[in-house]
Symmetry: D2
Subunit: 315 residues, 4 copies
């Protein structure tokens, strides 16, 4: 991540603000406000605004005239109760806004979460930065043989070098050809004064999907947690998980009580189907419990045993 001098000054300027407000504030989140937290090789996450804190959830759940907080312990009890019983609307009462720089192929995954507000940098209007994502070697993995949408073992040695060379060369050449099409360099300088450049909305089609874009992304806490429960999960693609992990840290700073309930009930929790529950009931009672009688598919059975750590039962 390279910020220009001007960008750094813009950020410092924001961070130096000292405004007075009657609104609730989140002191730990204020500490990192506006800061460009690095992700991947050229990306970042910046928290640029927020509304509410843990007490706002309590306040809305009670439709109260005052602050949400009675006692911290009471509030924590209520927040846990709401999380456990999926009483979701009070969590919508907190809002957060991020400025994110990310590769286009990740932006395409991200945007599938529809309940958010988005303003993306327009490549019809402006020229995209000359930055593209190249994975660290340790993240160059083969297609998984068991999971059709996952990664298997890491690729090493010459093959890894070859892969990185292809990715780098293609992205670079395509960007340079993008400049040629535009008849304009990324820094704004014109290449050939006697020529028109191709319209930006067309030239962009020559770029590769690892080119970085950026956007403002705003959502409420409930939908942020839904996003994180999917994207900070081990089944998510590593590159989006890298963003989700940083965002999870900002949630911890912002609404620490909610964060803890989320980790307990969502991230660390599991769902059992009716049939799986019967299997577990039998196991607790010490009854014999075999895959063949469970009514589960082999895949389900193995997922269930793995999630409880009974790997000796795998089929």
């Amino acid at each position: 991540m390279k910020l220009t001098k001007e960008q750094q000054l813009d950020i410092l300027d924001q961070q130096s603000q000292q405004n007075t407000t009657k609104r609730v504030t989140s002191p730990e989140l204020e500490k990192v406000l506006y800061e460009a937290l690095p992700v991947l090789d050229h990306g970042f996450i910046r928290v640029v605004d927020y509304m509410g804190d843990d007490s706002s959830i309590v306040q809305a759940a009670r439709v109260s005239y005052g602050k949400g907080t009675k006692k911290v312990s009471t509030d924590a009890g209520l927040i846990k109760y709401l999380m456990r019983h999926r009483h979701s609307t009070p969590f919508e009462m907190c809002e957060i806004k991020y400025h994110v720089k990310l590769p286009i192929f990740i932006a395409r995954q991200w945007i599938r979460h529809r309940t958010a507000n988005v303003n993306e940098y327009s490549a019809r209007y402006s020229i995209l930065d000359k930055e593209f994502y190249l994975p660290e070697k340790e993240h160059l993995a083969a297609q998984s043989s068991t999971n059709r949408q996952g990664r298997g073992q890491v690729i090493n040695g010459k093959q890894a070098d070859d892969i990185l060379k292809i990715l780098k060369d293609d992205a670079q050449r395509n960007y340079e050809n993008y400049e040629k099409l535009l008849n304009e360099k990324f820094d704004g300088s014109v290449i050939d004064e006697d020529k028109d450049g191709l319209a930006r909305e067309l030239a962009r089609m020559n770029l590769t999907l690892n080119t970085y874009t950026q956007w403002y992304w705003k959502t409420d806490l409930l939908n942020l947690l839904n996003f994180l429960s999917l994207r900070a999960d081990s089944h998510a693609q590593y590159e989006i998980r890298a963003y989700a992990d940083i965002m999870l840290d900002t949630v911890k700073r912002w609404v620490p009580i909610t964060y803890e309930a989320f980790m307990d009930y969502r991230v660390g929790g599991i769902e059992l189907s009716a049939k799986s529950k019967q299997v577990i009931q039998k196991m607790i009672k010490g009854e014999k419990c075999k895959y063949e009688d469970s009514g589960l598919s082999k895949r389900e059975w193995n997922e269930l045993m793995s999630s409880f750590g009974f790997t000796e039962n795998l089929q």
Copy 2:
């Protein structure tokens, strides 16, 4: 609107907060933060939180690293441009939260705007306040004879008195019977110690639709403006317009540049159909323009002429 001593203290407690923040603030809106602004006979609107200001719209439209503001005049130009061309997403980057007390039949209209977050006071869980809406005499109007969903002339004299008596007596008696069903008074005192009360979720069905309820309602600026353009409009029912007018004032305090653009392009503006545009074009050229040749229905023709003030052309 009667606030209890405790409610007043809760509000004062919030208003006395003096927090420091790096976020942008809206000084004019801060002045009325948490205040219960009266609406109708027992209702109110309170702004309880907000995120962003005019500069946030500019900042998101530019996907900028710093504050939105370059110069106020440039920002105003951009906001007007966005409003005129319905580039709507930057207006979603501001968020506001209201605490509203309102009659149930108005709450039912209001909730039809789906893109908002809501926590309503639960009558399954709690007892509703003993307050119901009775219109001022000047708002007691007859059914309109021309508009099937509007009001006509004001009803006066004895008929008005009779109407108000019915509304008052029925609401009051039904509330008292609600208490009887609950076996509990609105102040929490039990009526008959030897009896169980009917479940709250059932007893509430005896209440009238002018009973007051309350909720926390949070939305972004774009959807708030959509709400206001429908509900602060002369075709809206008076009772919801009373709320919309107060909210319009809070918008003016919060985002004054956006407010001005909204008044010019939405509230004061009109839409012309293709056929209506042709009529106007002819009129400007001084050509004869008759209803019969316009291709408009009589209703459309009259709406068009009225909106331009050419009432001599009405059919």
Copy 3:
């Protein structure tokens, strides 16, 4: 539920349609199409249109050129997999539309599900039917002493009679006064030719919350299942559950494979928090497991033990 002669003919007219289509159809659902399935004392549910069937989910998940179906067993496997892993978007590819008649206090709960399309009968424009909900005696329950938003034991004898009398008398009188305010009977006859009626948008405020309203309600299968998992649940208020149960039957007719997966993974399933999972793991291993060491609140512990049927462990 009383349908007028005209309404019955309208429904018969729709049911007699025999159109040819290249779209997929759901034969079992076609059998009850348009039929007014009774709910509560005067309500009903009518399926008035639908789009897609089980094969549409498979088709969209595969982004296929042809029908979804390869083999029923393969399709069922995929649908179960999608349900288990909360791959939710393919379930959005089916859509259904209901015509519902329901008491207003239930409509107010129902409308809180925002991701649906709604057209409600307008009481600004028309006069509401003279019908209000009165519970069966067996559903007259006291406020629960353990669950602040639930029902406890049934109320019997004279108290039950008194309750029903209040509900009936108040609803009836308020409706008759509504007619008086309107100066018009429910059948359209004018009461006093020399008077204007109060505007409908005002008169309606005199009605009680058990008055019936009706609406068209359209949603996709995913959001319908979310609705049903909350409203066909034992914690839901009986009166909305009565609707949800009928709708669940229509889902079974419409998309039988999805229905089965839904019953197994959602309705019959449970969620375990991280801490609860540890308790279960210990119990399976035969380790001593006491409430005091579990890290769960008493309420959580009891919910967990109850859900597995180990009531001897309740605290």
Copy 4:
């Protein structure tokens, strides 16, 4: 657009369905159901399902027990009225589902319309087709000098040839390198049996933004019309307009009355701000009306004069 033999058979199989239904049907839309309507060089639009027709809008607006239709002329009047007054909810009662093949950079614009259901072909799971968009020469335009997000004059001659060569070569080489990374050809054949392929979720990042993707996209009529009013507009990028134009044809087949109202009130209509309205009022009265006194910006003035065809007044 090249469909494989198998895809063609799948489509024919769907088209040969002859199902009986009690639902309303749209005979003109049935005629093109499932057909791959070509767009751009390799894209297409297929209508794969729909729900409702013009009568469904009327039916929902009236919350009726029977079919919407009374008389076609009455229905048309109501639909026009609803469109004119932006009574939008009845238009949500019709639903349509498309299968679309489109270049990724257009998919990124399209997905910004959030109120739709989407299932996209997964490049984590499968290999993308070897197809990329190359513009027709007549659509190779220079960046506009007046509109920062539009196109200016067409680029001809050698420069056009050079542009197309770059676009073609880069897309082709990047696709071939994508195959190399995957160690697998687009037809599924393995390149080097001794090597693992890079995970699909990573390899895809090497593709260019003009590579074709495909998705199922389902939305209601209201949101479809909103999409079309933005994307079938002359300010939209040509490549998305090409899709919108074909979709507009399907709307005409599906709901002809709504289509006509849409063309009159939305597509052919304009919005006037309060200030612009005053200008027009003066012009009709024959009063002198100069830009300097209008209160409009030069840009607004020119937009206004252009939209009425008074180009002699341009500043």
